[in-house]
């Protein structure tokens, strides 16, 4: 998960250490962040998740759950 978290931190322009599961995506979660995260998930996990489902995520934990479900 660390490659993924580092990548997500870069996309959201925050420190990776801040990205606890409860981290609220809020305003940072715009269409560009969603698209960048789709590419990151594909690169790190070689799976794709639905763009709509990803856009609906509210926290970092929500993204984690979506990725876990896709990898499983």
């Amino acid at each position: 998960m660390s490659d993924f978290r580092d990548g997500l931190a870069e996309i959201l322009e925050v420190e990776a250490s801040e990205l606890e599961d409860g981290f609220e995506l809020g305003e940072l979660w715009d269409s560009l962040a969603v698209v960048s995260t789709l590419a990151l998930i594909d690169e790190v996990h070689d799976v794709s998740v639905s763009a709509e489902d990803l856009a609906e995520c509210k926290t970092v934990g929500d993204i984690g759950k979506l990725v876990d479900a896709a990898v499983a």
């Binding site: 960048s36 789709l38 590419a39 690169e43 639905s50 763009a51 709509e52």
Partner: protein, 337 residues
Amino acid sequence: MPAHIVAIATHVPETILSNAELADLYPEWPADKILDKTGIAERHIAGPDETALDLGVAAAEKLFERDGIDRGDVDFLIFCTQAPDYVLPTSACIMQDRLQLGTGVGALDINLGCSGFVYGLSLAAGLIAGGMASTILLVTADTYSKYINARDKSVRTLFGDGAAATLIKRNGPGDTGSIGPFEFGTDGSGAHQLIVEGGGFRTPRSVETSEEVVDKSGNVRSRDNLYMNGGAVLNFTLKRVPEVVARLTDKAGLSIEAYDNVILHQANKFMLDSLQKKLGLADDRVPRRYADIGNTVSSTIPFVLEEMAEQSRFPPGRHMLVGFGVGLSWAAGSISF
């Protein structure tokens, strides 16, 4: 395949839209962020009275003049655009007259976007292989700027207007170039992911379709404007492009290493970075051209090819071309010089 690409000329309109101008409209996206994410510094935008047909004519005139091509040799014209001058007649018919081509030519439009050049090339090769034409002018031109809402940064940062004219000829004695094989793909279930909904007959333009709405990312658009679901298009691309590349290498009986370059539709830096990683290709085999023109839809691949020519001649080499986008539609083809 008994045909080859002889020459390519491109044209962009004069007006430039810079990142600094866009950043003034979108305070949350400074100019350096736009450049960093898209790789695009500026795009060219057609004037209010300038259409895709005008851009295409300019590219073709440049081809005739710069490359010393006799327009009288052209016996078929294929025009690929999604921004025709009229509902009817066919823009290619008007282009025949504007270019003063003979009245013995065949002319037709094809309505495809980012996959259009590869499809157009396959049609040209097919017409030549079938003995129906011998010198084909393939013109690609689009003006997506006319569909884009000024306050929609999701697409306004990416697309630029532009045109390319490509001359394809039947091989004569001593010609060694080739066009093909090709592999195609279509998934119309994704039609709504990249669409201008208003203005056709399913959804004629009306007061309702012109109503602007603001999406979650703060982008403004109406149903008469271009809409792109960037996430869905990325997912489609990451799935379909590697697949069609594998189908083409199988069909051609070649490994991907046998291609000097893999020329992808120049969507933007982010998309090309993702695809290049996925395909496992080194930087020097994935040429790029978007920094100064943006995504010119069906003309992006010929813009790359034109830069490969030295004094209007293409150095020997084998290249894979891959187009993908609106439709959803995709295709890959081999060419050699």
